[in-house]
Subunit: 333 residues, 2 copies
DNA sequence: CTGAAAGCGCTAACAA
DNA sequence: TTGTTAGCGCTTTCAG
């Protein structure tokens, strides 16, 4: 591995000049610059990041810690968005997956602090409120899809409340008044916020909340079709079955489609359906195609990095960045 | 940010002693060690990775480049497995996603070489044969799910041929002789190898290959249910329809299920089905549950890192590591 | 426009 | 068991 000195010797300049060339310093005679670059190419010289970093204190790296990397679009969209934004400045993501273990999380933060990353993202699979987070020694941190119970750290969050409210309002606008809701796992922040959005939309339109129309208890990863089928069956067995069903995610919607098909009901004629997440593998392959609230994974991932690199410098005060979940219109509503 | 010298001053020892404590050198009086550790904690001192690295030349990092990070279990399983193995030695993955751009791939390798990673993994979404790969300046490289046309780099690959062969043999063992096959995208290495496995299994059992039983042209990401439905419909419309269908992936199998249901055919009684990938969100939620060939994403990711960290040191000669795709028995075959 | 000296924070010899 | 002396490869003064 050649060093800057080797290059200097061969190019017959001082190693400082080589340094200038590497760093695109204007103060180098074009002729000299070219000669140096030539030698750099010949020798296959690569400036050592560790040495540069030691002087500049800039690591060009960002830590990205996830609690799970499951096979849903979740973490993937987050990572993809984060990577996309980081790469805009040629910064690299250091990724650690804790599998939910606090000890790993703790250690990952330590290692990242030691590496002097320019910031740390902590992303969770499911929206949740955290009690604690390891000390990052003053480094910027941003939570992705989760937040601190005491809001002591910045967070990028989906607008679960607004999305559910909008979904419900879309149903109302289409004239539906009996709107079923098959929610995600109970007692998660997402489920609670969405339920609130659903209720508020109804209320504002003067429609009483009917507990019988709401089914809860589904978690994406533990999703069992049978459970969603049961919920859909229960809804359709009501004296007054719903004419529209809002589903906590697209997989639930898929199960609802099947149930309705078995019951001979047509979508959206007999029952309108709206999903959540906009998982295209599902939404586009259902018949009719599924209208869904988009969960903006990619955008959120990108926003988190942007926060670390830009916003934080302006104002390191903890803040919540709420990202909209746009309605993707298709043919089921 | 306190340095090793600050710690030394406060603890009233030489900074070398602090260094010893950090590196768990036995040669330190327990009493001294404790005092130093106390000060380290008080000051919130963290050894700077860049400085350590400069001396030791060990980066404790591994580069992981992907051509795509899609929302299938693909890249995720790879990353998860790689991260799992790397973390065993507290090494961190540096991840860059090229989105298929050669310039990004080139630059990513450069940056990783500059960071003196201990090795580079290049993973592709779909199995393919590469013409070129950027110069890694002697660093170990391993390809994941792809290989060089001239086999000049090591690769970790799924046993597509063996899996297809086994799947076909499983059908044969159940007494099926008309076995349909809905393959992945034509002209990909995976599709070709699998087709060969399918043919060879038939041949060995003295059954003539029937082109009419094979449908090709599906790519996971571009998967359109309608296309798979057409293929299934075509197969079932044959004068002698197949009694078993081997599907290139589980989503295709899902579409086949639907088609058969519409035709009033029972699985596996009328037609047996076997999928590929073992995507549990699909396989477990179909009725009956889908038997599938597991695509060992996680294991392959882990193996790739293991190769860089262990095998390569023993023998840096390029080699192919073929990973088995075990049969996951459920109720569709 | 270029160079010499100093030092980033740490570890590796070698002494003491 | 501990301390001293050199650097690792680079950037940053400050001079030329």
């Amino acid at each position: 591995m050649p060093t800057i000195k080797d290059v200097a010797r061969v190019a017959d300049v001082s190693f400082k000049t080589v340094s200038r060339v590497i760093n695109n310093d204007k103060q180098v005679k074009p002729q000299t610059r070219e000669r140096v670059q030539e030698v750099i190419r010949e020798l296959g010289y690569r400036p050592k990041h560790a040495a540069q970093m030691m002087r500049t204190q800039r690591s060009q790296s960002i830590g990205f810690i996830t609690d799970q990397v499951a096979s849903t679009p979740y973490a993937v969209g987050f990572i993809k968005g984060a990577q996309d934004r980081a790469w805009m400045e040629e910064k690299i993501l250091l990724i650690v997956n804790t599998e939910g273990e606090t000890a790993v999380q703790q250690r990952a933060v330590e290692l990242m602090v030691a590496r002097q990353v320019e910031g740390i993202v902590y992303a969770t699979m499911y929206r949740q409120a955290l009690d604690t987070f390891p000390d990052t020694a003053g480094l910027p941190v941003v939570l992705l899809n989760c937040s601190m119970k005491d809001d002591s750290l910045s967070a990028v969050l989906p607008d679960d409340y607004g999305a559910a409210r909008q979904a419900t309002e879309l149903c109302l606008q289409k004239g539906h008044t009996r709107i079923g809701y098959i929610n995600l796992l109970d007692k998660t922040v997402a489920a609670e916020e969405r339920l609130a959005g659903y209720r508020d939309a109804l209320e504002q339109h003067g429609i009483a909340f009917q507990p019988e129309l709401v089914h809860i208890g589904y978690l994406t990863l533990m999703f069992k079709k049978s459970v969603a089928v049961e919920a859909a069956t229960a809804l359709m067995s009501l004296a007054q079955p719903p004419t529209a069903i809002f589903c906590g995610n697209d997989h639930i919607a898929m199960a609802v489609y099947e149930t309705l098909k078995d019951l001979g009901k047509k979508i959206p004629h007999d029952v309108a359906i709206i999903g959540f997440d906009d998982e295209q593998l599902v939404t586009l392959n259902l018949t009719p195609t599924l209208s869904s609230m988009d969960f903006p994974f990619f955008t959120m991932g990108r926003r988190a990095i942007h926060y670390l690199l830009e916003d934080w410098k302006q104002d390191p005060t903890p803040q919540q960045i709420i990202m909209p979940c746009p309605y993707i219109e298709r043919n089921s509503l």
